[in-house]
Symmetry: C2
Subunit: 186 residues, 2 copies
């Protein structure tokens, strides 16, 4: 069976990230990706995780502590547009666009700040690194955001990036799909 | 680096086809996929390959004979709309939509017969089997055909099939992309 799109994103990241590297979870949410990334980079690596909701930070901290992974993760109560203020070279950056599952559905990522955040992330992505953007667009602002992000990706220079769109197209209910941006070079 | 779309198609097929199975090359062309499939099914397997151009049959036969693989392949000078006249259970079916590379660019696959052929192929695809459709749409009838095939795939029941669209979206020159249809069940 074809894997689900989240598994595809994780596989693409696993294939590119080395233990000890720095990676970014741009949308912490319930901490699922933060946990995945913390395991991946191992003890000498670092995850920097962003969210603007204190609830996300608390939930994620609890989960990380339970797993003994908290010391690998730096949590930031800040907008992911600020990724490029970090002096890092990131091997991978993960985005989940939409709302916090189980949280307030009125609080969603928005097209304009999402594009800013993606641009900001690309500035710190190392050559050969990857940014994955999971697009959950089954919410009121979702379609606009989806179109803006796709349009932005279409225009990325093929000399510098390769953008994969991975989507199951016969699904109902606006199933999520994946955009994965690989920065060329080694 | 992300693999090219043809490599992705072949990987999906490799993961699903067992030695000894029957598979179909719906668009023989220069025989690249026929050769790949003949190696994959091994000595006890069978490839059935279609083309309406005698030139394709000749070229492919030569290549197969050179590789000692001709006895695994049944070549049919016929339209791929006739796939379902075969009494087979196919593990994989490959389509390349467009024209024969190096051949007459006026002779291309066409939307209506392509849809017929895909439907015909799905009727003999075994549960757990896969159909890959590479869409080369950089020719005059290509855009119409692409849209028709995508629309057809969108409507396939998600109870019976899962349809993956795999595309690099920041490429110029109408780069080819892949549709892969997996039939559910084992």
């Amino acid at each position: 069976m074809f894997p689900n799109v989240l598994e595809v994103a994780r596989k693409l990241i696993r294939e590119r990230v080395q233990a000890g590297e720095t990676v970014v979870d741009a949308t912490m949410g319930n901490g699922n990706d933060t946990l995945f990334l913390a395991q991946l980079v191992q003890e000498e690596g670092k995850v920097i995780a962003f969210d603007i909701q204190p609830q996300a930070i608390e939930k994620t901290r609890e989960r990380l502590e339970r797993e003994g992974l908290a010391n690998r993760v730096e949590m930031k109560l800040a907008s992911h547009e600020e990724i490029d203020k970090l002096e890092i070279s990131a091997a991978a950056i993960m985005f989940n666009l939409g709302y916090l599952p189980g949280g307030d559905k009125e609080i969603t990522t928005q097209a304009s700040s999402t594009i800013q955040a993606i641009q900001s992330g690309l500035r710190v992505l190392r050559p050969g690194g990857i940014m994955t953007v999971m697009i959950y667009w089954g919410h009121p602002a979702g379609e606009t955001e989806k179109e803006a992000v796709e349009a932005f990706c279409h225009e990325l220079s093929q000399l510098d990036y390769l953008v994969l769109k991975y989507q199951y197209i016969n699904q109902q209910n606006q199933a999520p799909f994946l955009l994965a941006i690989e920065r060329r070079g080694q």
